[in-house]
């Protein structure tokens, strides 16, 4: 059964970049900071592509943000997604607003499956997928992973970790939870959020990048979707945590043991 899959691609600071808070605490220093697709969203896009390769269908990628967020949509299109939707909004967002806007996109597109990242690596909120599922009255399977490791044969063959049932009416999702891994079956349409071990995302190929330029990228104005755009999570002030100073280098295990035993008194 072909699957229509909606995935999200949020524009975030590159996880390799050094994040500094502005002196007035109103934001972070963005000079010299690179941007890219949220790493968890790359995993979401990869999973959607594998499901499409296995079952047929369509992968639609949505992002909410300013015009620059089109870059992250193009990146997903270059990986192989079919078309994009940019929900234009130039102000602060929070998971409340993001999920309300994504619910509108869902109503327009009526996908079988929505795959999001479990968290954005900027705000680290870990909420948008759960909010979306609740708003739509759908089942949720957060922190999707798989039994096989990222070095396994299944991964090399690019098998999807999310398994579509034979009747095409539900998906089985393995989840990383405390103390082990859990499996859930969720009726379609469903909301899934990705954890790190679900897959290794592919790199866009040069032909993929060329093709992406011609793929459809529709723009919707957030203000026209009938959603309250006032954030409910109001960031009042940012600061840098107290930094931790390095200590000393010890010469050998003997000295290490003495330090731990006599100085730190932890062993």
């Amino acid at each position: 059964m072909p699957l229509k899959i909606l995935v999200t691609a949020k524009r975030v600071e590159d996880p390799e970049s050094k994040i500094k808070v502005k002196p007035d605490g109103a934001g972070i220093v963005t000079d010299g900071v690179n941007y890219k697709m949220n790493p968890f969203d790359e995993i979401a896009v990869e999973e959607a592509l594998r499901l499409k390769e296995r079952h047929g269908g369509e992968v639609i990628v949505a992002s909410i943000g300013g015009e620059k967020s089109a870059t992250e949509i193009r990146a997903a299109l270059a990986m192989g997604a079919d078309r994009g939707i940019l929900v234009r909004h130039d102000g602060p967002l929070d998971p409340v607003v993001v999920s309300a806007l994504l619910a509108k996109v869902f109503e327009l597109e009526k996908p079988d499956l929505v795959i999001l990242g479990k968290q954005s690596i900027d705000d680290d909120q870990n909420q948008a997928g759960q909010y979306l599922a609740a708003r739509l009255g759908l089942g949720q399977a957060t922190f999707a992973s798989k039994i096989e490791s990222l070095e396994s044969e299944a991964e090399q063959k690019k098998e999807p970790g999310v398994k579509l049932a034979a009747d095409g009416k539900s998906v089985a999702v393995v989840r990383e939870v405390d103390g082990g891994v859990e499996t859930l079956e969720v009726s379609l349409p469903a909301v899934v959020t990705t954890d790190l071990r679900l897959n290794k995302p592919r790199f866009a190929s040069l032909p993929g990048i060329m093709k992406a330029k011609k793929k459809e990228l529709k723009e919707l104005a957030a203000a026209a979707l009938g959603v309250d755009l006032a954030p409910k999570v109001v960031v009042k002030k940012l600061s840098e945590p107290p930094s931790r100073k390095g200590g000393v280098k010890v010469q050998d295990v003997e000295e290490l043991w003495k330090k731990l035993h006599d100085e730190a008194k932890v062993v």
Binding site: I28, F40, V96, Q119, I121, D123, D124, Q125, N126, Q127, Q130, Y131, A133, A134, R135, L138, G139, Q140, T142, E148, S149, L150, E151, S152, R175, E176, V177, D178, G179, G180, V181, E182, T183, L184, V186, S187, L196, R197, K232, V233, V234, V235, K236, K237, L238, S239, E240, P241, R244, G246, V248, K249, V253, E254, W257, K259, L260, A264, V266, V267
Partner: protein, 320 residues
């Protein structure tokens, strides 16, 4: 409506320790709002767990039903929403465990509430509680306010003390009006990672290994056992399938703050540091003298972990 509802987590008939830290946070918020603390516990056959929780002095609302046997957010959320309304909660919280992080955002959405994840502490004045939380892998601390009548939060257990028992609360049955047949999620199994070692987030000592182990965790585990420690790992080691996902320490894994954290063959990427830099004493064993982990380790040893860890374990054994 200024009461506080803390959602307890139970597993296998016992209260998860992280819940006790969330109760501390709940007491603090209730003091600020002038409200009363309530506890909720959901599951099947949870009488003894509810009884245990009543020792923390707050009224315990026990939702005991077959449909709640497994921690399905879809089934649990509506019960908590009804309860939050019934007890007139202005704040609903839980520990930031996998359970809490899965469930509470769904509860928040249904309560039309804003939410703060992994709260480290509270700010603001009087009943106007703000939430201190990490962003960008802990490189930034944010103070956030929630502009909704009901406010939802999860707390990082290591930042709040475990609540001490005090007084005796009543145990009442919470209403469960969930139609099992209408659920869109079905529980299809759990593969437990059994371990005789202390729980990672609760252990006094953690010994962690990274890519430098090349897949051989024996020296890491042997040292951990000598120290009665939990074993942790970097993402690289978990991704490779060397150790269970449950062992990952970091921004997107577990956050630990033990008295002693030993990082062996771990380079010290910010995403890893985000999960352990609150440790009291950090030891790094790495053969690269320029590894970033040395910039924050209290004691750094430039050495091959395959030699240094067994030597340290031997030293500990002899000194006992």
């Amino acid at each position: 409506m200024a009461n506080v509802l803390i959602v307890a987590e139970q597993f296998g008939g016992a209260v998860r320790k992280a819940t006790l830290h969330a109760i501390s946070a709940g007491r603090e918020v209730a003091r600020r709002t002038g409200g009363t603390l309530h506890l909720a516990v959901l599951g099947k056959g949870i009488g003894p767990v509810a009884e245990e929780l009543s020792g923390y002095g707050a009224e315990v609302h026990a939702a005991d039903a077959a449909v709640l046997e497994h921690p399905l957010a879809e089934a649990h959320a509506p019960v908590l929403v009804e309860l939050a309304r019934a007890v007139q909660a202005s704040h609903v919280g839980a520990a930031a465990t996998a359970f809490g992080k899965d469930l509470l955002p769904r509860v928040a959405a249904l309560l039309e509430a804003g939410m703060a994840t992994e709260v480290l502490g509270f700010g603001g004045e009087g009943a106007e509680v703000t939430f201190r939380r990490p962003m960008w892998a802990g490189n930034v601390l944010a103070e956030v306010a929630l502009a909704t009548p009901v406010k939802v939060f999860t707390v990082r257990a290591t930042e709040f003390p475990a609540a001490a028992k005090e007084g005796k609360g009543a145990v009442t049955a919470a209403k469960v009006s969930v139609d099992a047949g209408a659920l869109r999620t079905r529980y299809a199994g759990f593969k437990e990672v059994k371990s005789a070692r202390p729980e990672l987030t609760e252990a006094r000592i953690v010994v962690a290994g990274g890519r430098g182990t090349k897949g051989d965790f024996k020296p890491v585990e042997a040292l951990a056992d000598e120290l009665n420690a939990a074993v942790g790992a970097s993402r690289a080691a978990v991704d490779a399938g060397w150790v269970p996902n449950d062992w990952q320490v970091g921004q997107t894994g577990k956050v630990v703050a033990p008295e002693l954290y030993v990082a062996a063959g771990i380079s010290g990427a910010i995403q890893h540091l985000a999960g352990m830099k609150g440790s009291k004493v950090i030891v790094a064993v790495n053969k690269d003298p320029d590894a970033p982990i040395f910039q924050l380790a209290d004691y750094g040893l430039v050495a091959d972990l395959f030699k240094a860890l067994p030597e340290l374990a031997e030293k500990l054994k002899k000194s006992r």
